[in-house]
Each structure stands twice: as structure tokens, then as C-alpha cells.
């Protein structure tokens, strides 16, 4: 790996490093949101930052590096990005439904109220 990395041009390295730093920084911001926000329904929005731009940035940087180094085809990163983007809405949707169900069953006051059906 290190032999291949020396050969890649500098602007490719700068681009890939930029993507890596953006991805890791946005993951950190999402985790700060998880730790700092007050209610569960606010906190439900924070991990989407990790799974959208955090994963996207890291995967994009890795794809750029391995495509420029030419050591392997970046197939795992494509799979990883598609998998995370497809599965995150499903998990967060199910978790939010479960939380709403539990809060309504206990009669908590700060539940989002039901959407009224149009006539």
C-alpha cells in the first residue's frame, strides 16, 4: 500500500484527504448532536448526518485513493455506501414508530400528535 501511495499525484491526495476530513468531521458533528440534544425525537435526526455525509465522505475518499493507487477495484466501498444509504431510513423509521407507540401507550405529554386524514 505505501509503495502505491507514493506514486499518486498530489492533487488526488489533497482531494481524497478533503473527503476523508469532511466525512469524519460530519460524523463527529452527528455524534455531538446525539450526545447534546434534549428529546428523543430531536435526537432521531442526528445519526442521519453520520450515515449520509459521514459515510459518503469516507467512502468517497477511500474510493479515490484506491482508484488512484491502482492496487484494487473499489468494489467494497460502493457496496458499503449503497447498503448504509438504503438501510438507515428503515431502521430509523422503525425506531421512531416504536418510540411513538411506547409514548402513546404511556400517555406522555410530548408525543407528536397524529396526522389528521384529509376528507
Amino acid at each position: 500500500m505505501t509503495d502505491n501511495l507514493v506514486a499518486i499525484p498530489l492533487w488526488v491526495a489533497i482531494l481524497a484527504s478533503l473527503f476523508l476530513l469532511i466525512g469524519a468531521g460530519l460524523s463527529l458533528i452527528g455524534a455531538i448532536g446525539i450526545a447534546r440534544m434534549g428529546r428523543f425525537y430531536d435526537r432521531l435526526h442526528a445519526p442521519t448526518l453520520i450515515t449520509s455525509w459521514g459515510t459518503g465522505g469516507m467512502v468517497m475518499g477511500s474510493m479515490i485513493i484506491f482508484a488512484a493507487a491502482g492496487s484494487r477495484v473499489p468494489f467494497h466501498e460502493i457496496l458499503l455506501g449503497i447498503f448504509v444509504v438504503v438501510t438507515t431510513p428503515v431502521t430509523l423509521m422503525m425506531l421512531g414508530r416504536a418510540a411513538v407507540y411506547r409514548d402513546r401507550a404511556e400517555g406522555n405529554p410530548d408525543v407528536p400528535h397524529a396526522v389528521e386524514e384529509p376528507e
Binding site: 498530489l10 484527504s17 476530513l21 469524519a24 460524523s27 467494497h76 422503525m94 411506547r102
Partner: protein, 93 residues
């Protein structure tokens, strides 16, 4: 030069992801209710996956990316099972 740049970027990225994992662990321990803990566990899984991607860039072998794929899949299945358990009280009806 480009080697040094990429190594520095992966080090900083791994540091940021480690802090993110620590914050998720804090919420998982602290979280007032069960759904907060499940949400923090899901975010922790994704952060661990990104940590493995950064480690795979640094070492250059394929096996860390396969591990990251497996971790992503396990995280999805476990979070869906836990959400189902919170909703219904049992996983398989």
C-alpha cells in the same frame, strides 16, 4: 508528500471517529429510555464501520472492508430486531 498527507488525514479522521464513538457510548450509558440506547447503539455501529474503513485505507488490505460490510449488516439487523422488540415485546411473532 501525498503519502504523508493521506496518513495525516486518516489519523485525524480516526481521532474524530473515536471521539464520536465515545459520545455515542456516553448516550448509550446515560440515555433515559430504551429507545435512546438503541439509537446510540445504531450510531455506534456506523461509527465503528467508518473507523474500519479508515483503518483499511491506512493498511491497504481488503479484509478490513469486508469486516466493515459485515459490521454494517449486523448493525442493521440488530437495530431492526431491537426496534421490533420495543414495539411489540417480542422479536418473532
Amino acid at each position: 508528500m501525498s503519502l504523508l498527507l493521506i496518513q495525516a488525514a486518516t489519523w485525524i479522521a480516526q481521532l474524530a471517529l473515536a471521539i464520536a464513538m465515545f459520545l455515542c457510548t456516553f448516550r448509550m450509558i446515560r440515555g433515559p429510555r430504551a429507545q435512546d440506547r438503541v439509537l446510540a447503539l445504531d450510531a455506534l455501529y456506523v461509527c465503528a464501520m467508518l473507523q474500519l474503513v479508515a483503518f483499511g485505507i491506512r493498511s491497504g488490505t481488503t479484509i478490513y472492508f469486508e469486516t466493515a460490510l459485515i459490521i454494517a449488516m449486523l448493525g442493521f439487523v440488530s437495530t431492526v430486531a431491537l426496534a421490533k422488540f420495543l414495539m411489540r415485546g417480542e422479536v418473532i411473532e
